[in-house]
Symmetry: C2
Subunit: 153 residues, 2 copies
DNA sequence: TATTGTTATACTCTATAACTATA
DNA sequence: TATAGTTATAGAGTATAACAATA
C-alpha cells in the first residue's frame, strides 16, 4: 500500500534525521553526552546485565566498537564487568551507580530540551511520532528489544 | 501540552534514530552513497546554485566541513563552482550532470529499500510519519527550507 | 573591521581483519 | 572447529582555530 510518492516524501524528511539528532546533542550542556553514551543507554534500559556481543546486536554495530567503548567506560567507572557463570569467554556488563547517575542526568537534560521544543505539540502527536518511529525501525530491520539473555549449552 | 511521559517515550524511540539511518545506508548497494552525499542531496534539492555558507547553514554543520567536501566533490566532477557576481569572496555551487546522476541513482536505490521495508504500511501512516518528522526537525531548531539566495548590498 | 571561504588539527563513530581464549 | 572478545588500522563525519581574500 506504500506508494512511491509517500516513500519519497518520507525519504526527504529522513534525509536530515541525523541532523535532528545532532541538533538535540548540540542543545545539551557540554559533557552531558560523553563518548560512548549509546552503550550506557542500552545497558541502562536492560533489565539484566548483558554480554558485549548482545550490546553490539542491540545497537546494530560491530562488536569491536562495543569492546573498545566498554573498556573506556569501565575505566571511567561507569560500567562494571562481572564473570559470566555460563561462559568463560564473555563477561556480563552492567552500570555502576556512577554510570546510572550519568544516564539519569543525560536523560533529564534531553527531556528538558525535547519538552521545551515540543511544548506546543499536542500530546497525541508526540505519542504517534514515537510509535511510528518505533515501527519504522522495526520495518527497516533494526533490532531494539532486549530479549532475555539466553542460556548457552 | 507535551507531557513528560510522552516526551520520554519519544526520546526512547529517537535514541536509535541514527541506527535507523545507518540500517538504511547498510541496506544499499556499495558505493551508492559516496562520501559527501549529504551536500550533493542539498544541492540537488535547491532551485538555484548555493554559496558554501548557505549549504552549511541548511545542513547545520560547520562551513569548514562543507568547504572540504565541496573540494572533494568538485574533484569528482559532481559539483561545479561558478563565480558569484554579487560577491567575489564566494562561489556559487551546483550539480554537474554527473552529480545529478549520482543523486538520482542514490535516491532511487533508497526508495527501493524504503518501499520494500514499508510495503505493508498504509500510505497515510507513511505520510503522517514524514509530516511529524518534518515538524520535529523544525521544532528542534534545525533549518531545512532553502530560501532564495539573498542579494547582498 | 566584518564576512567568506580554506586549511590544519583533533575527536567521535564506525568497520574490517588479525589475533587470543574459551566452548 | 566455532564463538566471544580484543586490538590495530583505516575511513567518514564533525568541530575549533588560525589564516587569506574580499566587502
Amino acid at each position: 500500500m506504500a506508494t512511491p510518492e509517500a516513500c519519497r516524501h518520507l525519504l526527504t524528511s529522513m534525509e536530515g534525521i541525523t541532523g535532528v539528532h545532532r541538533s538535540l546533542a548540540k542543545a545539551l550542556p557540554a559533557g552531558c553526552l560523553p563518548p560512548g553514551s549509546g552503550v550506557l543507554f542500552v545497558l541502562g534500559r536492560s533489565e539484566q546485565p548483558l554480554r558485549a556481543g548482545r550490546v553490539a546486536e542491540l545497537m546494530d554495530i560491530d562488536m569491536s566498537v562495543v569492546s573498545r567503548r566498554i573498556a573506556h567506560l569501565v575505566d571511567q567507572g561507569w560500567v562494571a564487568r562481572s564473570p559470566n557463570p555460563h561462559d568463560g569467554r564473555s563477561c556480563l556488563l552492567g552500570l555502576t551507580d556512577q554510570g546510572r547517575a550519568v544516564v539519569d542526568n543525560a536523560t533529564e537534560q534531553c527531556l528538558d530540551v525535547v519538552a521545551g521544543g515540543l511544548r506546543d505539540w499536542p500530546d497525541e502527536d508526540i505519542e504517534r511520532l514515537a510509535d511510528l518511529l518505533e515501527r519504522l525501525r522495526v520495518s527497516l530491520g533494526h533490532r531494539t528489544l532486549p530479549a532475555p539473555e539466553p542460556v548457552p549449552h
